[in-house]
């Protein structure tokens, strides 16, 4: 029996040798993910689509949503300082749309689409249910040179960007039915929103400033045409590394070849 004991000891030693798995070394930038989603029906339309869009408006600074960076704190101030992270992100995204043939205008009223820019730095894991998920968080809603009237409560967005958290559907989580999106790390979210629908929405809010009993279904629909998530490219203190950021922006537009204007 002594022999068998020895065999057991030997096999457990062997187990110890072989069971240290998952030691794959990765650097931070290898963990960066670039995700883009687009409205299929819109992209296939002939009357108005990504190519017939001509003009855009972009918010004047990047929204910052965080559960640990305080408004007015040093990280916050740093983020918004001239030529800080906010300016750098805005400049790069704006230039990309210009490179794709779109023309920047000053007012949402003249814009075919609006570009929303939001950075999220949230410690807890959150899964995005639908576009406009962050609506209502300070920093989400942009101004675009519009007299904005904030109404708490409902936001109605189109269901044309219906992606749900269901990683069990496809072979890979980003195939098919769904996509889980973790906000554990820094994310830059770029949203391309139909200008006309946004104007309608704002006009509706303006007309109903004093109306506290608006039914959810009465709100005009805001149409999201495209969303890009640049995941991981910022450090936890909201500073950014240019190389990683530039690569992610490049990837977002490269994997969305339908985003160009044929009208200019």
């Amino acid at each position: 029996m002594n022999r068998i004991k020895k065999i057991f000891i030997a096999s457990f030693l062997l187990l110890g040798l072989t069971s240290c798995y998952k030691d794959v070394s990765t650097t931070y930038d290898e963990m960066d993910v670039t995700l883009t989603l687009f409205d299929k029906e819109f992209s296939e339309r002939t009357d108005t689509n990504f190519q017939t869009y001509r003009t855009f408006v972009i918010r004047d600074s990047v929204g910052l949503i965080s559960d640990y960076i305080d408004q007015g704190g040093s990280e916050w101030t740093n983020f918004y300082k001239p030529n800080g992270t906010s300016d750098e992100i805005r400049r790069a995204i704006k230039q990309k749309f210009i490179d794709q043939g779109y023309v920047q205008v000053d007012s949402i009223k003249n814009a075919d689409f609006a570009v929303n820019l939001v950075v999220t730095l949230v410690q807890n894991d959150v899964y995005v249910g639908n576009p406009g998920y962050w609506y209502g968080y300070p920093g989400y809603y942009p101004y675009w040179g519009w007299g904005f009237y904030w109404k708490s409560g409902e936001l109605k967005t189109s269901e044309n960007m219906d992606y749900y958290y269901d990683p069990w559907y496809g072979y890979y989580p980003w195939y098919g039915y769904g996509y889980s999106y973790s906000y554990e790390k820094a994310n830059i979210m770029v949203e391309m929103i139909d200008g006309k629908s946004l104007v309608k929405y704002y006009e509706f809010l303006e007309d109903h400033q004093n109306d506290d009993n608006i039914a959810p279904e009465d709100y005009p629909i805001i149409y999201y045409r495209w969303q890009a998530f640049l995941n991981g490219v910022l450090a936890n203190d909201a500073t950014y590394g240019k190389d990683r950021f530039d690569r992610s922006v490049e990837e977002a537009f490269t994997q969305s070849p339908y985003i160009y204007s044929s009208n200019n």
Partner: protein, 213 residues
């Protein structure tokens, strides 16, 4: 594949040894064996992780219940992984969805399993000094699949049914030695039907030490 040919050659040669040498020993009561178990995926698993795995071990015991048939238990562990180059993956078009898109990142895939099997072995001549055998192993297996792009991904853990036909041989260190080398080749099939897996299949080489009981 070269490994498979190597195992088959060793086993065929050992079967051939019957006719060349007439060394007979007492038939053992059984065997205890353990060792390394390198594996390589075929079919869907071969696509999921294209390189072979040298992370694996096995432990098994067998006891003769008749002149030629031994029954035993088998425990194993295998780990496969692969980190692929950064790439862009377009979403598959799903008519139920109004949106589509693409994702770019570094894809890393992992597959681990832990089989707990019962083995039925047939030894044509158990009293011969070299002991080739054919076996059928079957039982349950803990099956874990992970796939990530960046930090986002899926984990699927299930218990499945496994079946593994096997061809192997015990070669003693000396003609009357109680210890020897255990070499066996297996084909494994696991009833895993999720994502694009239509069963997990892999080849396995068990190389270890065996003791006669």
């Amino acid at each position: 594949m070269k490994k498979i040919y190597l195992i088959i050659s060793i086993i065929v040669i050992s079967f051939g040894a019957y006719s060349q040498d007439d060394v007979y020993v007492n038939k053992p009561d059984g065997f205890i064996s353990f060792g390394f178990a390198p594996t390589w995926g075929v079919g869907n698993l071969g696509d999921f992780v294209s390189n072979g795995s040298y992370r694996g071990f096995f432990f098994e015991g067998k006891k003769f219940i008749s002149n030629n048939v031994a029954v035993g238990g088998y425990l194993g562990w295998s780990g496969f992984y692969e980190v692929k180059d950064r790439g862009t993956f377009n979403f598959e078009d799903d008519p139920r969805l109004k949106s589509s898109g693409a994702i770019t990142g570094n894809l890393s895939n992992y597959y681990y399993n832990f089989p707990i099997l019962v083995s039925f072995s047939y030894y044509p001549k158990p009293e011969f000094w070299i002991k080739p055998f054919v076996a059928l192993n079957t039982g349950t297996v803990y099956n874990k699949l992970e796939s990530y792009i960046g930090t986002v991904g899926l984990v699927s853990e299930t218990w499945q049914f496994q079946v593994a036909p096997e061809l192997g041989v015990f070669i003693p260190f000396g003609k009357n030695a109680e210890g020897g080398i255990h070499i066996a080749g297996r084909y494994n099939y696991i009833t895993y039907q999720k994502y694009r897996f239509n069963g997990v299949q892999y080849m396995q080489l068990n190389v270890g030490i065996s003791w006669l009981l």
